[in-house]
């Protein structure tokens, strides 16, 4: 892999100061910073070929449409999907889950049917299912977690039944960092033909994702968490589902023909891409994926594992610090609390030291409830972070403890 100095030089924002101190950015779970190549790619859309996609017969529209479809192909290759038309661009992971919850629900879910999620889910993979269950009179079942923050597999097996219509689980917990054994979850569900949606919002940026190897039926993620622009996301779905599911939004581009008597829908993937999408962001995402591939995904995973081990060793030696989520299998995210100190107080002081961490429930209230706490401090690291930054965090935490 490139040297850390060269990698950091790719991300202009990492040079900035906050409150006169060097920024230490440990909020990558919320959103990642962008390499110059992504910033340039988006800027280039607007400076040289901005034009609506799939609409005009003119040169610029052709260039823009082609760049957009190239980005789709890059996504396909990145997750190793079988077909380009199985890649739907959305507004983000949230948009993708909502799309499936609506369209799948409309097509397949009957009163009394069950949807299984896990206790580790981000609200984005809870609320759309609750809304669908309410609409369809279906029932939401939740796989519980153990004290280490891992899902309890035997409990999952018990929840699977003839009423189960779909399983939707996260690949990695945003709040605790736990990596979920999704391959086993999928295999178990498929024994009785139950489809599985994987929320890859916290996994795709940390390693290699192969949707065909996983054999998941749906896979969703957000561009902004994998060094790409905000406002773009991906929904991968197996053709057999996407072709059979109704669209979830109506509008331009998703139709084949519109009359007031009857409208017929366009083919995949356009059936699920109503209106003008954020195509500059999609193009930027394609470049971000190139960047990540260029660094090497196995190398990224290795580097981030080393950062995680270093951080766990450093932080656990601090007296009064408790780490939540202690699975052996984790992304480079650490959630913790300091004894007797409110997470918001700690976060504010760390912020003043130039350290960006997230405090609160991380949009995963059920996880917090299962530990009986109302929030944590979360440091989510990635390959551009350094051991020195982890030392700065550890020193900062020691200072916080002294202040309160």
């Amino acid at each position: 892999m490139k040297s850390i100095t060269d990698i950091r030089a790719d991300f202009p924002i990492l040079n900035r100061k906050v409150y006169g101190r060097d920024l230490v950015y440990f909020d990558n779970g919320a959103t990642t910073q962008k390499p110059q190549c992504v910033i340039d790619a988006v800027s280039e859309v607007f400076t040289s070929y901005n034009s609506n996609i799939h609409r005009g017969v003119h040169a610029l529209s052709d260039i823009a449409s082609e760049a957009y479809e190239d980005a789709r192909e890059k996504v396909r290759q990145f997750i190793n999907a079988g077909h380009r038309h199985e890649i739907i661009f959305t507004s983000g992971a949230t948009g993708s889950v909502n799309a499936v919850a609506f369209s799948f629900g409309e097509r397949y879910v009957q009163p009394g049917d069950e949807i299984i999620i896990s206790c580790l889910e981000h609200h984005a993979n809870i609320v759309p299912w609750q809304m669908m269950c309410e609409r369809k009179n279906a029932v939401l079942k939740v796989i519980p977690i153990n004290d280490s923050g891992e899902i309890i597999f035997e409990e999952y097996l018990k929840l699977l039944s003839t009423r189960t219509k779909l399983v939707a689980v996260t690949h990695a917990s945003n709040a605790l960092g736990t990596i979920v054994p999704v391959k086993d979850i999928i295999t178990a569900a498929h024994t009785t033909g139950i489809p599985v949606l994987i929320d890859g919002a916290q996994s795709i940026q940390h390693g290699i994702t192969d949707v065909r190897e996983l054999d998941c039926d749906f896979f969703v993620f957000s561009g902004h968490k994998i060094y790409g622009p905000t406002g773009i996301g991906v929904l991968y779905g197996k053709e057999k589902w996407l072709a059979d599911m109704p669209p979830y939004q109506g509008g331009g581009d998703m139709v084949e023909s519109v009359t007031f008597e009857k409208t017929t829908y366009n083919q995949l993937p356009f059936k699920f891409e109503a209106g003008t999408l954020n195509f500059p962001a999609a193009i930027g995402l394609g470049i971000a994926l190139d960047y990540v591939s260029g660094l090497g995904r196995a190398e990224i995973a290795e580097r981030e594992r080393a950062l995680l081990d270093y951080a766990v060793a450093g932080l656990s030696s601090i007296e009064g610090l408790r780490i939540y989520g202690t699975s052996a299998n984790k992304i480079s995210t650490i959630s913790f609390l300091l004894k007797g100190i409110h997470q918001y107080d700690a976060g504010m002081i760390l912020d003043k030291m130039g350290i960006a961490v997230r405090t609160g429930t991380h949009c995963a209230e059920p996880v917090m409830n299962s530990f009986g706490i109302d929030g944590t401090i979360r440091a989510s690291m990635c390959f551009y972070n350094t051991e020195e930054e982890i030392d700065i965090l550890a020193t900062g935490i020691e200072k916080v403890i002294k202040m309160f």
Binding site: H342, Y344, D345, M348, I349, K352, G360, G375
Partner: protein, 139 residues
């Protein structure tokens, strides 16, 4: 003292500290030393929910002036709450309604009153004003 005199006093106290650490240490002290709210009032009815920290606020009107007691689960928030109470408690509804809280900005804690922080403080100020407006309308 008027509301503005107290605000100026607070600004002066904070101006003694150059370093942000000292300012926060002062807030922590204020938070730790704030008079306790009667536990009877630390209930949902008086809770101002923020997603980062919670504030409990209990108003009392004696026919002329409104006084407040409050609490928070986060100490720094509590320190700022203590300052707000020092400025706004024991005031007539009219005084509260027409007050302009400039001290927060001047002592460099403006972010703490921003809607994006969601720490209950902004909602607390709103609640104090609404309470004063409601009483003013009745009297």
């Amino acid at each position: 003292m008027t509301i503005n005199q107290i605000q100026d006093e607070i600004i002066e106290e904070f101006s003694l500290f150059e370093d942000w650490m000292d300012k926060y240490n002062l807030l922590i002290d204020l938070g730790k030393n704030m008079p306790l709210i009667d536990p009877r009032f630390k209930i949902k009815e008086y809770l101002i929910e923020g997603c980062q920290s919670k504030v409990w606020l209990h108003p009392e009107f004696d026919g002329e002036k409104i006084s407040f007691t409050a609490d928070s689960d986060a100490i720094i928030t509590k320190g700022i709450v203590a300052l707000l109470i020092r400025v706004l408690s024991d005031r007539t509804p009219q005084e509260i309604i027409s007050s302009d809280l400039y001290f927060i900005d001047r002592i460099g804690l403006r972010q703490n009153l921003s809607p994006t922080r969601s720490n209950g403080l902004l909602a607390m100020v709103r609640q104090i004003k609404l309470y004063a407006i409601a009483i003013d309308a009745k009297t």
